[in-house]
Amino acid sequence: MTKKLLMGNEAMAFAALEAGVRVVAGYPGTPSSEIVETVARLRSSGTARGVHVEWSTNEKAALEVLFGASLAGARGLFTCKQMGLNVASDALMSLNYVSVRGGLVLVVADDPGPISSQTEQDTRRFAAFAKVPVLDPATPEQAYDMVKAAFELSERFHTPVIVRPTTRVDHASAFFELPTVTRARPVPEEGFERDVSKWVIFPRRAYEAHGEINERLPEIARVYATEEPFASFNPCGVDGIAGIDTAASFGIVACGISAAYAREALRIVAKRAAAADLELPAFRFMQIGTPYPFPEEPFATFAQGLSDVLVIEELDYVIEDELARWAGRTHASLSVHGKLTGEARDRGENDVDDIASRIERFLGLSGRLRLRRRAEAQDATVAAPAVPAEELPVRPPVLCPGCPHRGSFYAVKQALRGTPAVLCGDIGCYTLGNAKPLDAVDTCLCMGAGITMAQGLAVADPGKKAVAFVGDSTFFASGMTGLANAAYNGHDITVMVLDNATTAMTGSQPHPGTGFTLMGVQRPPLDIEAVLVANGFRHVYHANPLDKDASIVAVKAAVAFEGPSAVIFESPCVQLIKPDEPVVIDTEACTGCKKCITEIGCPAIGFNPAIEGPRSGSRGQSFIDPALCNGCDLCTQICPFGAIAFPATNAEEQQGDAAESPAEEGGQDA
């Protein structure tokens, strides 16, 4: 056993391996991706023995692979982000009726904010809709315990179980004691056992199964109430501040990471009250870590004698609903406060400061504390240091320096100059093609939707050329059905496949087009052109996005064809390749026209009004940041004055920095 700093996601991977998981599958999506990656890393290092791990083509494929394994008696772990469960929902809804054999745990990572997502959907709500138990961790440690417990629960009740961390649990780190070796639990000797009355879903069987689900859910709620470790997932009280006062009339209930924030907020409120000589009203505190099926018994004990309860949760008002329902059914005179009453944030992330002020208001302290704070503010002589926000540059995420997508978007925009068109974007790094100056994304919905939305636009608005962008990973994940639809229904669209040989936005995961697998075996990569052709795309062009003129020619040819056509832009993601030497700007030749900046917006090109040159006068000049430039060579094709070039042809401008080789350990975030 050694102690190591682990992210919540890494800790959950360890928990599953320690629980003997045999098959692990998922599709990358922030904030969930590190779980599968950790299992793969531990497998290849020899720590995790006997486990099969894969990035599946998409979430639906992953969950179905795992369900098959479960029927053979293997324990399975599924991972995705919240919207991934939408893709896998068809399988989930039905497999819950069929029931599982080997334990099947789904880690579905929600993303309040949202920080890297299209929706703020709440997987606790989804679990209740699917009638599947869900656990909601507040810390990486709890996430670890919950994944282990989920496997036990799953096998005992033959139900899939969801563990629902959020970003701040997935990407928060704490220290864990770790085993040196884990072993997958062997599948039973007989393997899959045929039983048509059980494993084949029919309406009659579904009716029976629905009854079994309805019977097991209340039993699971009782397990939550009475058995460890589940009972500990709904703890009461806050260390240091009682929070379990029997005389209290106020109750505070918090869920997930908000429980950690609330514990800290309560410390702050207690300290502020003490500083102001105010008595903290008696209150009780409870975390609900097992939201569905709702653990009524422990809550009823907690709520005894309370008149008011404040619910602090992120995303939906799931527990608030449960409490209101409980109060109604039991005729308890309990007022439930939260999102629905405007007393908690209705969306986005919670934080300690906000929760502290809401708790002060709830406990009736805020008026007196505000007076106190106002008096303190008058006493304070030194203002807190600050720089006005409007003086700071905004810094939205952008395509990396040298990103090949920049060339693809630029070529499409140039080729379509003067042609009315709609540019349908999709999910991935290339959503960032929306940023100025490229400004090349008109729509974005969900994985693979660009290809099919373009078809609807082509039908309804034929005066505009319908163009869809799709990345190589998204292409395989959910682009192919859209291709077949275009060919079958004869839609006039052009698909721009941005093939950078990886799943880039989520941290460079392999996919069917790369042939690399997490089991260390190289398979023949699936050929994107062959897939296009097989799906009825007869006009397919290839282009190197970093070759501007050839790319424009390819786009023009593809768009001119009436019917389904495609351009495959091939150039690897800059995160995968060794950078080339940076280009330099010839200060003698630069006119300060800024075209290199206003056309392609590369982060490695800046503008300095202080640089003077014979052709730029006092206008200023562009400059290349050699630490960022990786020599993609696109800007040299943009500059109308030939002022940007590799140092070999520009020897007097050569800079010492160019020769430096980056040392990997210094700071690769991704």
């Binding site: 890297s116 928060a172 934080d351 807190a384 240091p385 700071l392 100025k436 940041d625 700071g667």
Partner: protein, 211 residues
């Protein structure tokens, strides 16, 4: 040598915030700090920005240590409670000032990273202007602001990727964190691949003028 001039009110967390631009190496720096805290036997939590913002956006790492035996609940630092903000880029440091505690300190790199949006505008962002504003915002006598001449130090070290260690060493050298340069050296040896230890140790010496 521990020169802990930091007086934090009552028993509460030691909060260290690392802020910069995606790709600058705040994640590894947070890991090194956590390792140093572990070796002290303190409870520690960290939180990272992972995802879209890593593509050149603003990123923040939170490191929270219970250096007086407290349990850390939240992985995120609340406003007005950061004991030290270590900024890998001056505007990113300025942006996070609302998180600084009334006694807290800012240690910032000098080198600015210009976002595309600023290059496109008629009034490009200049790091020197932000640094001027920072000098104006802090009382010079308080010792709460340290601007690190990172470019010269890194040129001396010979590796730009050592920025994170240069800043950590500079932060510890202020004497405002109850960690020593030896703690930092030990944590680096535990966290970093053996072939990169030497350059990082060199960065510590260069940053603290011990060469």
């Amino acid at each position: 040598m521990l020169r802990n001039r930091l007086r934090r009110k009552g028993a509460r967390m030691l909060n260290i915030m690392l802020t910069g631009v995606g790709g600058q190496g705040t994640v590894l720096a947070a890991k090194v700090l956590a390792q140093a805290a572990l070796e002290k036997g303190w409870h520690v939590r960290t939180a990272e920005t992972i995802g879209m913002a890593q593509r050149g956006g603003s990123v923040v790492s939170h490191v929270r240590m219970g250096d007086q035996g407290e349990e850390v609940h939240s992985p995120l630092i609340a406003k007005g409670t950061a004991d030290i903000i270590i900024a890998f880029e001056p505007a990113e440091g300025a942006r996070m000032l609302p998180y600084l505690s009334p006694e807290g300190a800012l240690v910032s790199a000098t080198t600015a990273i210009q976002p595309v949006t600023a290059a496109l505008s008629s009034d490009p962002y200049r790091g020197a202007r932000v640094i001027e504003r920072l000098y104006g915002a802090f009382d010079a006598a308080s010792g709460r602001l340290t601007i690190v001449p990172d470019e010269a130090i890194l040129k001396h070290v010979g590796n730009r990727k050592a920025l994170n260690v240069v800043l950590l060493a500079s932060a510890i050298d202020t004497g405002r964190i109850p960690l020593t340069l030896d703690d930092l050296r030990a944590a680096i040896e535990a966290c970093v691949k053996p072939e990169f230890v030497e350059v990082n140790l060199k960065a510590i010496d260069a940053a603290t003028g011990r060469e």
